[in-house]
């Protein structure tokens, strides 16, 4: 049975909802409305214990009722009461792992450990240089700041070269790849590869070379001096630093 999906507000959820924590908020209709009194701070009428969401319904029940809260309340009400998208459908076994419980923070067995590990490591992913991608300032803006005449960043470290490819004149990590016998060259992003295997896999896919035919081709590259060399003859880092463009040639004999 297909899901009833439309472009309207979300219909019944993908997984069965047993109880939903929001219901412990109590009656949505009592939520404070904005009202015409623009000078008051309706949101701030909630007291100091506000940050504990379990307490919110206590405060709400003492405030005047209004209709504007009803919209949200009605939606959430129906959310809970709505039938599953197909009551007769057999719920696959895997869904049992993902049922809502009373406590949204109730982690299943292991994930909490995994999560903590990952979240702490996520924060210092950049090898101690700070958060990756934070603050959300675009690359070329980072470069501006290193030229501040006075009072700016004291360390003159260069903008992090994202991919470890040093010494490239242009900031692009794309190189041309040609295949022998194919007139049109392609381009490949070197920054996403870290080994010959990965690179070769991508190239094979790009040129539609089947696994069986892989052995026919050899990867060569042209270095800065203009010489053509076999890629696998040098270590990866040397290859990355000195290559200008790539060519797949048919190996002879």
């Amino acid at each position: 049975m297909e899901l009833q999906l439309g472009l309207a507000l979300p219909p019944p959820p993908l997984i069965p909802i047993e109880t939903f924590h929001l219901n412990s908020y109590g009656n949505y209709e009592t939520r404070e409305a904005l009202g015409s009194n623009a000078l008051s701070w309706p949101l701030l009428k909630l007291g100091p214990a506000d940050n504990d969401i379990n307490n919110i319904h206590h405060h709400n029940s003492s405030s005047s009722s209004s209709s504007s809260g009803g919209g949200a309340g009605c939606k959430k009400r129906s959310f809970d009461e709505a039938p599953f998208f197909d009551e007769k459908r057999n719920v696959p076994k895997t869904l049992h792992l993902l049922l809502w419980t009373n406590q949204p923070n109730d982690e299943d067995d292991d994930p909490s450990n995994v999560l903590h590990e990952n979240s702490s490591s996520a924060i210092f992913k950049n090898d101690g240089e700070g958060l990756v991608g934070w603050p959300p300032v675009k690359t070329w803006r980072k470069k501006v700041h290193h030229q501040i005449p006075n009072g700016g960043a004291e360390n003159n470290r260069l903008p992090a070269v994202e991919n470890g490819i040093g010494g490239r004149a242009s900031k692009s990590t794309y190189v041309k790849v040609k295949m022998e016998g194919v007139p049109i060259a392609r381009k490949i992003d070197l920054s996403v590869h870290h080994s010959f295997e990965g690179l070769t896999n991508t190239l094979m896919r790009m040129f539609g070379i089947s696994d069986g035919n892989r052995k026919i081709f050899k990867l060569t590259y042209q270095d800065r001096e203009g010489d053509w060399l076999l890629a696998e003859d040098v270590p990866w880092r040397t290859f990355i630093r000195s290559l200008k463009c790539l060519k797949l040639i048919r190996s002879r004999g």
Binding site: L5, L7, A8, L9, P10, P11, P12, P13, L14, I15, H21, L22, L34, A38, W41, L43, L44, N51, I53, G69, F79, T94, L95, L98, W100, P104, N105, D108, P111, V114, L115, N118, S119, A122, L131, V132, G133, W134, P135, P136, V137, K138, K142, H145, Q147, I148, G151, G152, A153, S170, K171, S172, Y174, I184, A185, R186, K187, S191, V192, G198
Partner: protein, 529 residues
């Protein structure tokens, strides 16, 4: 859905096509549907990709593609590439040489392989149709100024010209002399040895630009040369000084000359004092963006606080769009801003240090942002920062009914937060989340919502691989992409959170140009793995 006649009429008449997510539809489909289109705007990467969160390049436009465009569409008029990469000036050369009717070439925020500036010479001598050229992203060291000058000289309809940093200050006068009709101009580097002749040349040529409404560029500004633009300041409606590393006094002087300013982009060197002057001088201000001069510094290097934003919000009655980087904020300031400026449509606040609390009360900023969504009923875009609990998402879900795009980082306590947003924000199109404790429950409970949105990005959250598989399986009209550089997600336990998740609706099916660390969860994923 419309009736067939309308569909056909629209199809044959549509000249402009905008594709907000290039993977949502295939080129074949666009071409088939709109055979007469003359202008196409393509967007690729999810917004968070701008900030090094992924190495994956999602919108690669190769030189070959540009060549294909050039050769296939002889009458091509407008090419706007937004945040794209993968092409070089070679590709641009082919466009220049082939597209005789090209009116607009806009490479905003692109990363272009700058092989040579001589691509400009590929515009034939007979080519005169250029109306808009934005090459501000190009780097090239060698620049073909004479080709540029000649191009500008013969394109008498040129209205927008945004140069790149490589164009030196003393060349600008020559270029502007050829184009006094310009409406938008972006300088190159705005630095030179201070010489009176260069200065007076520059000031003179700016004086002759009677139509100039917008200025940008200003890399490496030498303050002595700034007064050269005073002749045009009174007419300026847009000023982009976000690369201008000049201090507050110079910025204040400049801004005081621009009473008709509607749009200002500036570095935080402007400081609170400068923003106060802005608030009193520029009553027509609609959009303000304040960028950090030292985003990675631990301590503030300038005196820019929430006070500056409050001043502008109070003083500028038409202010509706703000992007503001600062280091401290208070609920009180946010509530004041919200109450006084309910006409905000875009409110993006970035408090530089994650999880920074209200500096006055040490509380979360839930109530402050809550006020923003409560008072600003037409809010379409919101970016949150600072210390935030699930509470702020409850406010957002309750009040932000017109919200189309929401950016969240280091916020929330549980799935409840995400649930509030997905179930409450009726107009939501794009949601991007990083480093929040949102997991499977809220996502799966609101799976259908995802089909009503353009895309959802989640990185460093708590969504498990199992949930991703389930989504991919159950929602055939969504592309569920797991991005994880640790290796295949099935090499780890199913309940292990994925690193990055990008979900978008698509009628083109899964894409096939992914690098090795992106996996599409499709209908088979449940069976296969």
């Amino acid at each position: 859905m419309v009736c067939k006649s309308w569909y056909e009429i629209e199809r044959w008449c549509r000249r402009k096509v905008f594709v907000g997510n290039c993977y949502a539809v295939s080129p074949k489909m666009v071409i088939r549907r709109f055979p007469e289109f003359r202008s196409i705007e393509l967007k690729g990467k999810p917004h968070f990709a701008d900030f090094n969160l992924i190495r994956l390049k999602r919108m690669v436009v190769t030189d070959e593609s540009l060549e294909l465009i050039a050769k296939s569409f002889k009458n091509f008029k407008v090419l706007v590439l937004s945040s794209c990469e993968g092409f070089s000036t070679d590709g641009l050369a082919v466009i220049a040489a082939s597209c005789k009717n090209l009116k607009e070439l806009d490479l905003r925020d692109c990363e272009v392989d700058d092989l040579s500036a001589h691509w400009l010479s590929h515009f034939p001598e007979t080519y005169t149709s250029l109306v808009s050229l934005n090459i501000s992203c190009l780097g090239s060291d060698e620049a073909s100024f004479s080709a540029l000058e000649r191009l500008v000289g013969r394109c008498t309809n040129l209205k927008t010209l945004q140069l790149n940093r490589a164009v030196p200050l003393d060349k600008i006068a020559n270029i502007l002399r050829h184009a006094p009709q310009l409406v938008e101009f972006g300088t190159g580097t705005y630095t030179a040895d201070v010489r009176p002749d260069v200065y007076s040349d520059l000031a003179g040529v700016f004086s002759s630009c009677k139509e100039l409404k917008s200025l940008s560029g200003f890399w490496d500004v030498v303050p002595d040369y700034l007064p050269a633009i005073y002749p045009v300041c009174s007419k300026l409606t847009s000023l982009n000084l976000s690369y201008a590393t000049i201090q507050s006094p110079d910025l204040i002087k400049l801004v005081s000359h621009c009473p008709n300013l509607q749009r200002l982009l500036v570095l935080d060197y402007i400081e609170d004092s400068g923003l106060e002057v802005l608030a009193s001088s520029c009553k027509d201000l609609q959009e303000l963006r304040v960028f950090p001069s030292d985003p990675f510094g631990a301590e503030p290097n300038v005196s820019l606080t929430e006070q500056g934003l409050v001043a502008v919000s109070l003083g500028c009655p038409k202010l509706q769009s703000v992007l503001y980087f600062c280091r401290r904020m208070s609920n009180e300031a946010l509530v004041t801003i919200a109450r006084n400026r309910p006409n905000f449509t875009r409110f993006r606040l970035c408090i530089i240090e994650p999880k920074t609390a209200d500096y006055l009360t040490l509380e979360p900023l839930d109530v402050g942002f809550g006020a923003i969504v409560q008072y600003c009923k037409d809010l379409k875009r919101l970016s949150l920062s600072g210390l935030l609990t699930d509470r702020v998402f409850e406010y957002i879900g309750t009040y932000a009914k017109k919200l189309e795009m929401l950016s969240v980082a280091f916020a929330g306590d549980s799935d409840l937060g995400l649930h509030h947003v997905l179930s409450g924000c009726e107009s939501l199109r794009k949601l991007e989340i990083r480093d929040c404790p949102f997991g499977d429950k809220a996502l799966l409970a609101n799976a259908a919502k995802l089909e009503t949105m353009r895309s959802l990005w989640m990185s460093s959250c708590a969504v498990s691989f199992a949930a991703c598989k389930l989504l991919g399986q159950k929602m055939p009209r969504l592309n569920v992409e797991v991005i994880d550089e640790r290796g295949p997600p099935d090499s780890r336990p199913e309940n292990c959170p994925v690193d990055k998740l990008y979900i978008y609706r698509s009628i083109a099916g899964p894409r096939f140009d992914m690098p090795p660390f992106v996996w599409t969860m499709d209908e088979d994923s449940g069976l296969r793995l």
